[in-house]
């Protein structure tokens, strides 16, 4: 029963081969086998959203998926967002600037969810943002600064492709 299966995961652009027990969740695999502890363990039954990762760019609960099911998929965790060491992605930077976190437990999942929203919807309304993060529980902020952070990130990402004035 406890025999391990080899799975191949494309994690943050790197091909990872890991041997896992069938019952190991993708969450456990990312944290325990790959050392990517930015994906947080919350309720472990799909309620809190703290373990959200992107599976082929789409937010999913990594506690509700066994690692063997993720074989061959591209997975993005919070560790995969920054453009370089010591840098922050636009969304991460917006969360810092608007104080979109307090304890930080829900933050990686919030940022990944926001990243997926903005990839598909560059001009989200407040309702779009609230709906997108509705599956992610935050016990600290009351959500206001998180919504503000995502709106700020959306504005900045739109600006990135705009030519500078006067040129």
């Amino acid at each position: 029963m406890s025999t391990e299966t080899n799975v191949e995961l494309q994690v943050n652009g790197n091909l990872c081969r890991v041997a896992v027990e069938a019952r190991a969740t993708l969450l456990d695999c990312l944290r325990d086998n790959l050392g990517l502890t930015g994906t947080h363990v919350g309720c472990e039954h799909g309620i809190c959203g703290a373990c959200t990762v992107l599976l082929d760019g789409v937010p999913v609960r990594s506690c509700l998926m066994f690692a063997v099911q993720a074989d061959g998929y591209a997975i993005t965790t919070i560790e995969g967002l920054a453009p370089g060491p010591g840098e922050l992605s636009v969304v991460q930077d917006a969360f810092c600037e608007t104080h979109g976190m307090q304890c930080g437990y829900c933050t990686p999942a919030m940022i990944l969810t926001a990243q997926a929203l903005l990839a598909n919807n560059p001009e989200p309304t407040r309702e779009d943002i609230v709906e997108a993060i509705s599956g992610n529980i935050c016990r600290c902020t009351g959500y206001a600064q998180i919504v503000e952070a995502i709106a700020l990130a959306a504005e900045r990402l739109r600006g990135l492709n705009r030519p500078s004035e006067g040129l």
């Binding site: 039954h45 799909g46 959200t52 789409v58 937010p59 509700l64 998926m65 099911q69």
Partner: protein, 291 residues
């Protein structure tokens, strides 16, 4: 919160999946796993073998079959939610889908998984019963069809025989001037509903009711239809006060479930109000002409 050990199999086709199920009486099918995995984590179920049908691509489709729109059992809820054929031809399903869980669970959860799991509060189960869907399953190389009214046999129990696998769900196509409504109430958005209601109304050109279907979910072990009411409004405009009385009278006949979250009487009152809202939405608010 870790599952008990099991072995994992990922068959290439449905008959191989059925054979692997038949081999082990404690085997379970997994597709999206959005209901099964939490139950395994809480050790409410301990399958010794999981047969993953999530990658059998012949179970991924939404297609027009003339009288019905068929959906492959392993089609993800997020795909159905965005499908233009479903929006146009099965508008009640399209309206109900965003109520299921969250976007992150709809990204993995499948239509067949929700149907097979048969949770009394499941939105897809309520829509299947309300619209009179047909469920298609495969066992021992034989394909069998069964009506939704006969499929759901009790609390999280279905007529699926051991060793069988649901392969498709067929919804009757909406025709003519059809409106739909769906409402549910829960402690927080996307949690399990305490009561839910679905309605589909077909209207004549003069605005009178041609056909009315109402389904009530989450208050009994299996969602049910209020067919006795439909006849009362046939050929007439739907008046809210008369509708409310008729629904209240019909729900007086049933014994709702009661638990820590909601009493039987609360569920009955909530279901009455949600059913009235759903029918009124269908009759005046959300009319779509379907060709």
């Amino acid at each position: 919160m870790k599952s008990a050990p099991f072995t994992y199999h990922r068959p290439d086709d449905i008959d191989e999946a059925c054979a692997q199920l038949a081999d082990d009486p404690d085997a379970r099918i997994i597709a999206g796993g959005q209901s099964l995995v939490p139950m395994m984590a809480m050790r409410l179920v301990r399958p010794t073998r999981l047969v993953d049908i999530g990658r059998i691509s012949s179970l991924w489709y939404v297609r027009d079959e003339g009288e019905a729109i068929a959906i492959g059992a392993a089609t993800c809820q997020c795909v159905i939610e965005r499908d233009p054929l479903i929006a146009a031809q099965v508008p009640l399903l399209a309206t109900a889908l965003p109520w299921i869980g969250h976007a992150a669970t709809r990204a993995r959860g499948t239509i067949g998984g929700s149907i097979s799991h048969a949770d009394p509060a499941a939105e897809i189960v309520l829509v299947a019963i309300t619209l009179g869907a047909t469920l298609v399953y495969r066992a021992n190389g034989v394909t069998t069809e069964i009506q939704a009214s006969k499929f759901f046999t009790g609390l999280m129990t279905t007529a699926l025989p051991p060793g069988s696998c649901l392969t498709a769900v067929r919804f009757p196509r909406a025709s003519g001037n059809v409106g739909v409504g769906f409402h549910e109430i829960n402690a927080r958005r996307s949690d399990f509903a305490f009561a839910s209601a679905a309605a589909q109304v077909a209207l004549n050109d003069d605005g009178s009711c041609r056909a009315l279907t109402i389904g009530i979910g989450a208050i009994t072990e299996v969602p049910f239809r209020l067919d006795s009411i439909a006849a009362k409004f046939s050929g007439k405009p739907i008046e809210e006060a008369e509708l409310r009385t008729a629904i209240r009278d019909a729900l007086d006949e049933i014994a709702p479930m009661s638990d820590l979250h909601a009493s039987a009487e609360y569920r009955r009152r909530a279901a009455t109000t949600l059913a009235v809202r759903s029918v009124m939405d269908a009759a005046r608010g959300d009319q779509r002409r379907v060709h």
